[in-house]
């Protein structure tokens, strides 16, 4: 369903990787690994359609994502480095907004349930400005616990700043998503176990050659 052919990305005139090709199907997990600056985030942003690749294409269900436009947006969930949590809004309002903007109309009980799953239900009426780094992260990740039509999850360092308990909850949500036939691309420095029907690891080296291990 998600495939790349001869993908090459550059950042600030520097070639990060080239000739990258992989295919990911329903239930597939792709872990992207590599040293700092090897292009993990750039790869994820390219898959999300935020960054244009220097060469090659990203295809979703057979068509290039550039042509899919907004329909791709409703099938894909991207969580980047910045948690996109607004200080002025409460935790509940933040989650409400991020679900609405992705085109979902979700009753408040389900939103509260999602916050509960991430262990931040008691903070729901607190302005996000008072949250710790980890709690902010949890607020952003609570989107994963909402009833979600997005088939493809692109998560950039989802476990950063989380404690063991939260890591466990998030990896359980990821496993459930994969078991239901979803796709997951993930960058992480931590080795978090996620049960997946099909798992691949993509190693982004500092050099230009790319290794793909099944």
């Amino acid at each position: 369903m998600l495939e790349t052919t001869a993908l090459a990305c550059e950042r600030g005139g520097l070639r990060l990787f080239s000739d990258l090709g992989f295919a990911l199907d329903g239930g597939g997990l792709l872990r992207v690994r590599g040293a700092n600056g090897s292009g993990k985030t750039t790869l994820l942003r390219t898959l999300a359609g935020l960054t244009r690749p220097a060469a090659g294409t990203v295809r979703w269900r057979g068509s290039a994502i550039g042509e899919l436009g907004e329909t791709y947006g409703s099938e894909m969930l991207f969580l980047g480095h910045s948690p996109a949590v607004k200080d002025e809004l409460t935790v509940l309002e933040n989650l409400e907004f991020s679900s609405r903007i992705s085109g979902l109309e979700i009753p408040q009980s389900k939103i509260k349930n999602a916050l509960e799953q991430l262990g931040i239900a008691r903070l729901s009426n607190l302005p996000a400005g008072h949250l710790s780094q980890g709690q902010r992260r949890r607020t952003a990740l609570a989107r994963l616990a909402l009833p979600n039509p997005a088939t493809l999850w692109l998560l950039d360092e989802p476990f950063a700043a989380l404690d063991d308990e939260a890591i466990e909850r998030v990896s359980a949500l990821c496993a459930a998503h994969l078991a239901a036939g979803g796709l997951l691309v993930l960058t992480s420095h931590q080795d978090v176990a996620i049960a997946a029907p099909a798992a691949q690891t993509l190693e982004l080296p500092a050099a230009a050659s790319i290794e793909l291990r099944g």
Partner: protein, 221 residues
Amino acid sequence: MRGFAIIARRDLRIALRRKGDVLNVLVFFVLVASLFALGVGPEPNQLRAIVPGVVWVGALLAALLSLPRLFAADFADGTLEQMLVSPQPLAVVVLAKIAAHWLSTGLPLALAAPLIGLQYGLPSEALLVLLASLLLGTPVLSLLGAAGAALTLGARGAGALLGLLLLPLFVPVLVFGAGAVTASLTGINPSAHLSLLGAFLAVSSLIGPWAACAALRVALD
């Protein structure tokens, strides 16, 4: 259309919770407009002649003060990125943010302007023209300002850069906005000036959001 309402409502809610920012712009406007009276001296006729320009320049500078924040906060915390990958068309996102910006800065400025006009002793007919000219002109500031704010996103010293970029573009609005009030003061029908302001509004509502969208895509690449 739903996306527009969601984003505009969120931006207005944030503006309401950061009342300081909105008040800053208004107080700045009133102060700038009032300082001229102190600088020029107490001669009423002389003052009345310069009010249209004074109020309009004050409104331009106050709008300029608020514009760097239009996209910067959403850019810094990743919200803009989320809006770009969301199923909402970027043009809707930009238009909603522009609408919220105008409601939280342009509209208060337009409503405060007649009070300043009153302070300078403008006749009631000129006050109405002043209000009309600002109601037509301040949306232009938000629309073109959005393009400027998107272009300077992430740049160091974005505020100063924004002034250099936008003030020349604001000149026609200033000329015809202040011109409408001056015309009404001298007994000329101001409708020609106001029509031209309306034309600027129509043109900038096409150009501004389009340029802002293009600039945002580049900024987030």
